[in-house]
Every structure is written in C-alpha cells, then in structure tokens.
Amino acid sequence: MLQDIEEINRGNVSELHEWEERELRNIFALLVVGSFTGIPSPPVHITMELLPEMEDDLRIMLNRIQTAHDPLGELFSLLDPM
C-alpha cells in the first residue's frame, strides 16, 4: 500500500514539473521562432542553426497554442489528479 501512495505522489509531483518544463520549452520555441509571431527575435542565423533540433519544442508550442483558448480546461486537467 505504501508503494502505491509513493507512486501516486511521484505522479503528482512529476506532472507539475512536466507542466513547468513544457511551459519553459514553449517560451524557448516562441523566442527562437519569434519573427513568425511578432516577438523580438534573435538574428535569423541563430534560428536557422537551432531549427533542425527543435522538433519536440515546436510540437509543444503548437499544442500550447491549441489549449491557449481554454485556460480553465487546462488548469482543471492539471489539478485533477491532486
């Protein structure tokens, strides 16, 4: 039973960290491809150099855009397991 409690706690903590990590990567992607979104952007050669490595970050950013219109839904889904 103690093992189950530990598993649940680990799950809760990791979900919060995962959310934070996703948010940071979203900000990173927004910064790097900022020229497409109107945010002050780094010189084009930095974007071009990093772009081949940014597959996952771009995916996170695109998912974040999809949930941007439903912040309450996202908040409840985050608090759900708690």
């Binding site: 903590v13 990791s14 910064l31 010189p43 050669h45 071009m48 081949p52």
Partner: protein
C-alpha cells in the same frame, strides 16, 4: 528483423557526426590565426579601395605575403587593377593576391546548407515546401552581414600562410553591422542558453522522480548553443585583439568628417579603437587637427592627391613609392 527506418536514422547520425568532427577541426585551426588583419572603413567615395590597394602593394614590396580582399559588393578592385578578379585568389604581383568576395554566392550556399539540414531532420514533412520559404529567407535582415562573416571565417582558415590580410570594407552601414554581429549574436545566445539550462535542470528533476538517479540524454540544442557561443566569443576576441587593425579613411570635407566621427563612436561602443585615420587628398597638417581633436587614433597619415589616375599596377606602385613614408605609418601603426 532489420528495421530500415532505424538503419536510415543511424546513417544520418553517422553523417552528422562526421560533419561535427570536420567543424571541430576547422574551429581548432582558427584558434591559431597568424596573419595581421587590416580593415579599411569609411564613407562611400573617400578612397577605401585605392588606399587598401596601395597598402597591399607596399606590404608586398616589403616581401611579405599579402592578400587583399574586397568585401564591398561594388567590387572596385577589379577596376583598380584592371583585372578579372573573383573568389579564387589572383596573383597580381609577386607576394600579392587579390580576392573579391561574392556575397550572393555565400548567401545561396548558406541557405542551401541550412535547407538540407532542416529537410534531413523534418524529412517526413513532404507537403511542407521548405524550398519556397528559403527563397524568401535570402531577403531577411541580417543575412548579408552573416554571409560576409562566413566568407571572412573561410578566408582566415584558407590563408594562414599570409603575413597580412587587407580587407576593403563595404559602405558604413553594412561594415558596422558586420563588426557588431559577434556581440549581438552572443547577447542572444547567452539569454537562450540560460533558458535552455533551466529546461535541462527541470528535465533532470523529472528523470530523478520518474526513473531514479539516471543520467539523462545531452540536450542537442544546449550543445549547439554552447558551440555557437565558443565560435562567436572567438570572433569577438579576434576583433578586439591587437592583430586586428581598423583604419578609417576620410577626406577633408564636412560630410566625411561627420560620418567618420559616427564610425569611431560605434567602434568605440564595440570596444575597438582605431589604428589609423588616413586623410586621403589632404594637402597640409592643418587638416589633420580636426581629426586629432575628435577621433583618437595611433597614426594620422596624409595621402596627397595623385597627378595620375590611380588605376593599374604601375601607377599604383609609382604612387606607393612616392608616399612611402605615409603608407609605412599605416603598416607599422
């Protein structure tokens, strides 16, 4: 069962590894740069190209291996030497080679390399036409000075055997953007690195919670950022080092004076002082006073008007001999 997808992925990884090794070898080579670099900057029409040619000729007459590089898209060196000069070094005289950088070719090559690299990684995105996007990218701000920087790095690597490399620079705006590129790039790289390190730390915490203490994979973006930081720090250090000399060419008229002061201030912001302020067409010491008062430099050589048109190797040599002492000031400054 063999998974061809995995084999293909492995093949790509091997190729990328090879590219990294070559890049690393080039970077190491760059660490031991020996030639002195002399840049000639100034307002359009003050005679940067002619002064660069004269200094190069004088240095080659001193039996030192000299390379003259025209970075100016207007490419006057071909007209000055009355020769067909391209990207391949042309031996104009003994100990003197001349190159004219083709900026458009460097932009095209850079975009092609980036396009290939992006297509390799996102090879499943067949519907997404990357080619058209890259066609537009050549008109992006910042591409021109980046292409010049690529050409500059390549020239440095190829011409380690030279004693002196003389750069005839483009008009002021592009020249200043070129010199600020390493500093500007580093500012962005440092900020992005900080954010990426934060992400990496979060990933480490996550991996500790989920799978216990286990080393997580190296972040390829963080590695790339660190490599870029190393490269641009080296370029920035090279620009402010003693080996790099920036000479300002000017004429004794009001417009040239004002622009010269602006160039000096911008270079000062970048931490670079001028080696020489060359007064082209100046007749007496009085015209130097204004420059001595407003623009600090080590030397203020005066180059008087030539009675002959300074075109063709013979005329240039003749003038270089007559103004020997003043040109020597630029080389020894």
């Amino acid at each position: 069962m063999i998974r061809w997808e995995n084999c293909f992925r492995y093949w790509i990884q091997c190729n990328e590894y090879k590219i990294t090794i070559v890049k690393h070898q080039l970077t190491n080579k760059m660490k031991s740069i020996t030639p002195t670099l002399n840049f000639f900057v100034g307002k359009g029409g003050v005679g940067k190209s002619t002064v660069s040619a004269l200094v190069s000729i004088k240095n080659s007459l001193n039996t030192e291996r000299t390379l003259l590089v025209s970075m100016d898209p207007a490419h006057n060196q071909g007209d000055i030497f009355k020769a067909d000069i391209g990207e391949k070094p042309l031996e104009i005289a003994s100990n003197l080679w001349v190159i004219q950088v083709d900026t458009d070719r460097w932009i095209k090559q850079y975009l092609k390399e980036t396009e290939e690299s992006v297509s390799r990684k996102y090879n499943y995105q067949k519907a997404f036409s990357i080619k058209n996007y890259f066609k537009v990218l050549q008109f992006s701000p910042g591409i021109e000075e980046y292409a010049l920087m690529k050409a500059f790095e390549s020239i440095l690597l190829k011409h380690q055997d030279k004693h002196l490399i003389v750069f005839d620079m483009p008009p002021t705006a592009l020249t200043l953007r070129f010199f600020s590129l390493p500093k500007l790039t580093l500012t962005w790289i440092n900020e992005l690195t900080k954010l990426r390190e934060k992400i990496h730390k979060k990933q480490e915490i996550l991996s500790n919670i989920k799978i216990g203490k286990k080393q997580i994979e190296t972040d390829s973006i963080l590695t790339k950022l660190k490599n870029m930081r190393e490269n641009y720090t080296r370029l920035k250090d090279l620009f402010i080092s003693e080996k790099t000399r920036i000479n300002l060419v000017s004429k004794p008229d009001e417009l040239s004076q004002s622009e010269s002061i602006r160039i000096h201030k911008k270079l000062e912001d970048l931490g670079k002082s001028l080696q020489a302020v060359i007064l082209n067409g100046a007749t007496n010491e009085a015209s130097v006073e204004y420059y001595k008062k407003h623009i600090p430099a080590r030397q203020y050589p005066l180059l008087p008007e030539s009675s002959k048109a300074l075109i063709g190797l013979e005329n240039l040599r003749e003038y270089a001999k007559s103004a020997d002492a003043e040109i020597e000031k630029i080389l020894k400054s």
